[in-house]
Every structure is written in C-alpha cells, then in structure tokens.
C-alpha cells in the first residue's frame, strides 16, 4: 500500500501506533506541536532531501500560513478546517513567488535568495497591521470543525491534527514514490543529465517548491489553531534554522527522519525550557555533533547500517 517497502511499512505501523497511543502517556499539546513541526520538516525534506534545494527561508511559508489561519479563524470566524487550508494556499502562493525568483539559482545562492526573501516577508509581518506586530494574533478560537465538533477539548483537537498529519504524510510519500518523484531524484543526483533526457528541470523544481511551501503553510496554520496564537517567531529566520536542524537530525532524504527529528528536538526544547539558559547552547551542540558525526541523520545512519530505505 502507498508504495511502502517492507521496512517502511513496519516503520509506518510503529509511527501510527505511536500517534494513537502516545496521548495516553504524554501531554497532548506537546504531541500536537511535534506533529505540526513533523509536517513542516517533512515539507522541508521534500525540497532538500528529494531535489537537493536547501532553502533558508521556509519559515516564511510556515509563519505566513499561521497568520492567515489565525486571522481568518479569529476575524472572519472561518471553520478551522477552511482556515488551515487557507494557510496552506497562501503558503503555496508565496512559494510560487519565491520559486519564481530563486529556482534558477543553485547551492549557496539559492539559500541566500530564499533567506533574503524570507527576511522581507518577516519585515512585511512586522509592518502589516493584520499580524498584530510583536503581539501577534492572540486568543484565536479553535472553533468547531465543520460547524459541529468543538475542538476546545484537547483530545478532539489532537485527533484532527493527527489526521492532517497522517494524510499529508502519506501524500508526500506517494509523491516521492511516483514517476514524478523519480524525476526529482534524477534531478538531485545529476541535473544536467536529467535536462539532457528532456525533463524541464526548473518546472519540476518549481512544482516541488510550491508543494513544499503549501505543506509548510498547512503545518503553520494547524499550529496556530492548536495554540490559538500566531506570532513573529514562526516567520523569523531562527525558525528556518530549526526546521533545517530537525530534518538534519532525523535524516535528510529519509521519509521518517524529519518526523523523528521533530520529535527529538521538540522534546528537548520542552524539557530544556524548564532547565533555563542552556537552550541555545544545546541546540548548537546538536548541530555540531550532527554535522561532524551523523551527517546522514539518525535514520539515515540507521538505514545505511541496515541497508534499507527508511
């Protein structure tokens, strides 16, 4: 089903089981946060892991998606599902703009253009009145799903987030393992050859970029509905750094890696916030250790050891 290999199928079942039973053991709000970031990291991984494009501006889509969902839910009373979709759409549109400007560039230049563009989006968010500036959009109501099911209860909300996550996760997996996904990998491995085979590589990259931005927007929108708040944090470049770190820790170019990375880093953050001032240092140490010793990430290394794809 869904083109899973056997190890992937087993991993998926483990993940599914974890998603279902973990609320019994952990604080549901933290788990919802993990799922939102897992989705964000999966979106990022789609770009860097499967096309080899390292964006340094993904926070723009995540944060903007969050703002749009929060604004439409709070000011227009939009159904939470529609608000999240609106966040995703705006993320995708923004992605189209970024992509249009940046796709022709590679490597460090691509990273720098996306960084510069996201700085502009950040600036726009500090200036535009609808974002509420430094305060952000606060006290966003979770509302009623399809006008019927109240999401005020954490478990109801959790179920919705879990469904969004699983559906999108499967969608990404399906894309990666489609003929389209094969072309993407060809571009990652050797772009000139893909071009010479007659593929318009820029069009492919563009599509993936938009898709990735759209999913990031959905992740951001979901997060802002869960927490009832959308702020500059999510659109600032530190957030772009964090999603890179999650993807890196879990394993770039693995299906499950970004999910694991999001899980680990969010648990560390949740734990260290209590611990005090060592948060930034720990994050830095993880970065350094990863680059020095686990360049393929945890699942990447594991997969290489076991000689399977995860």
């Amino acid at each position: 089903m869904f083109g899973f290999s056997r190890p992937q199928g087993v991993s998926f079942l483990i993940m599914l089981a974890a998603v279902i039973i973990s609320p019994a053991f952990f604080y549901p709000i933290l788990l919802m946060k993990v799922l939102c970031f897992a989705l964000f990291a999966c979106a990022y991984n789609l770009l860097i892991g499967y096309v080899g494009l390292g964006s340094f501006g993904h926070a723009a889509f995540f944060g903007m998606g969050g703002y749009i969902a929060a604004y439409s839910a709070k000011k227009w009373g939009l159904d939470p599902a529609l608000a999240i979709i609106a966040g995703g759409l705006v993320g995708a549109v923004l992605g189209a703009v970024f992509g249009w400007l940046a796709i022709g560039r590679q490597g460090i230049y691509f990273a720098m253009i996306t960084l510069a563009l996201s700085q502009m989006v950040f600036f726009f968010c500090t200036q535009a009145s609808f974002t509420g500036g430094e305060d952000g959009i606060q006290q966003v109501p979770r509302g009623k799903l399809f006008g019927m099911i109240s999401l005020q209860d954490d478990m109801a909300m959790y179920t919705v987030v879990a469904v969004i996550f699983l559906v999108t996760f499967l969608l990404i997996h399906r894309i990666v393992h489609s003929p389209f996904g094969q072309v993407l990998k060809a571009i990652r491995e050797n772009e000139p050859r893909a071009t010479s085979l007659g593929y318009r590589t820029d069009d492919y990259k563009m599509l993936v970029f938009i898709l990735s931005a759209g999913i990031a927007g959905i992740a951001g929108g979901t997060k802002s509905i869960v927490f009832g708040i959308a702020t500059l944090t999510d659109v600032a470049n530190a957030q772009s750094g964090e999603v890179i770190l999650m993807t890196l820790v879990g394993g770039m170019g693995t299906i499950f890696g970004p999910v694991l990375g999001a899980l680990i880093l969010n648990f560390i953050e949740s734990y260290l916030a209590q611990l005090g001032a060592w948060f930034a240092v720990t994050q830095g140490v993880i970065f350094v250790l990863c680059i020095m010793f686990f360049r393929r990430g945890i699942l990447g290394e594991l997969a290489a050891r076991l000689k399977v794809a995860l």
Binding site: L101, Y109, L117, I244, Q283, G284, F287, R295
Partner: protein, 296 residues
Amino acid sequence: MFMIFGYPSALLFGQLLLGLINGAFYALLSLGLAIIFGMLNIVNFSHGALFMLGAFVAWGLLEFLGISYWWSLLLAPIVVGAFGVLLEKVFIARLYKLDHLYGLLLTFGLALVIEGLARNQFGSSGMPFAIPRQLQGATDLGFMFMPNYRGWVVAASAGMCLLVWLVIEKTSLGATLRAATENPAIVQSFGINVPRMITLTYAAGVALAAFAGVLAAPIYSVNPNMGASFIITVFAVVVIGGMGSIAGSIVTGFGLGIVEGLTKVFYPQGSSVVIFVVMVIVLLTRPAGLFGKGGH
C-alpha cells in the same frame, strides 16, 4: 541651510557619514568572510560570534589585566585568531570536501554555542567599555557633531581593508594564496604546506572579525548578542559583493552602509530590510554578485 527632498542637507550629510561608519564594520567583517570563503570554500556563520569574542577579549584584558585598548587592537585578534586555528583544526578541516551547506550549518552551530556560553557567563545587558582617552570628545564638522572615536573607526577600518587588499593582490604571499585557491594540488607540489596555509587563512579571517570587535566595543556595549545582529546583514554584503571577492566585499560594505544610512532618513522602519531588497535585485540581475566572477 538648504533642503534636499524636504530634508535639511545637514541631516542628510550626517546620515551619509554615519552610513560610512557602519559601512566600515560591514567592510571589515565581510572582508574576513570573503577571504575565508575564497580560500576555504566555507561560509563562516560563526563570524559574528568571533566578532563578539574579540570585543569580549578586549574587555577582559582591560578588566582583569589592565591592558589598554590600543594593545587590545593587536592582542584580541591574536587570541581570537588562535581560537580560530583550533576551530579550523578540530571542526572545519573535516568538511572541505562536502557541500557548502554543511560548513554553513556547522559554523551556525558553533555560533550558537559560543554566543550561548557567553550569555550564560556574562548576562546580556552588556559590559561598559570606555572610549580610549586619546579619542574622547568630538569635532564639530559644521553639519554635524562628529565623535572623534567614530572618525578613528572609519580610518582604522579603511586602512586595514587597504592593507589586506594590498597583501593579497600585490605581494608574493598573496599570489601564493590566490594560486592555492585556484589549484591547491599544484601549489602543494611546489613544496608549500597548503593545509597549514588554509588554517592560517581562517585564523586571519577571524582575526579581522576580532579587530572589528575591538573597534566596536566602545560604540556598542560589549554584549553577547552584538555579533548575531550583524551577521545576517554582513552575509548579504558578501553575497552582493560577490562571494569571495576581496575588493567587492570592501566596496559593497561601505556602499551598503551608506544606502542603509539614507534609508534611515526616508523610511526608518525599513532600514533593516533595505539590504535584502538590494541583495535580491542584485542576484537577479547579476547572479554572481557585483564583483563576482562566474558563479552559480
């Protein structure tokens, strides 16, 4: 006093001069980054942290050993340069064969660690650092009151930039360096120890950052976050100038300082973003930056 675009000319001239002063820091920092990028192919994200470290070394020398500002201008770059040797040997040397992205992420991580430790140790309100006695006071230029120390910053940084440019472009050492950038194998075959040269280049690049840090200490408080607020802008300067271009980074540094200065008159809120607007425009029209060669 006449007016330009509805602003008093004195104000505009004042802002131009201030832009130049900021540009002096951009130029020094981006020069170090450009040297490191040119030689090591590493985007040194920890540059801002090392700039901060330079300022802290100067502060420490004064506070604990009573060593004056002037000696710090020499000593702090040496201390931070030595630290740079350590960083290069232990971490960065292992990444040369990899994609740029890894070097960038590694140095980003190092910056988080250095800045985080400094914050834990020193807090964040900053340490006062007095302007050296000889440079206190200010000169009335007619259109503005120019603190002598700021004048010194522009002169010192322009002098240092010129010196570095001369060394790289006009001396045999510079020629060897440039050759090693182009083709390390051949230079190595001439009996030159290229890995050591790379290490020393990194040390020199971060020493420049430390030098800028000492210059900055009396202007901004000596503060663990002082580098973090500069680094992204300095990156933009390097990219606009053309990655790895020595002259490009110097000229762009001063130039963008001025652009930013003028923005502060016409649209102050936009002063933090104007450089990125310039960067996108430049990269779309000249993908390799203003002074860059080739490039993708």
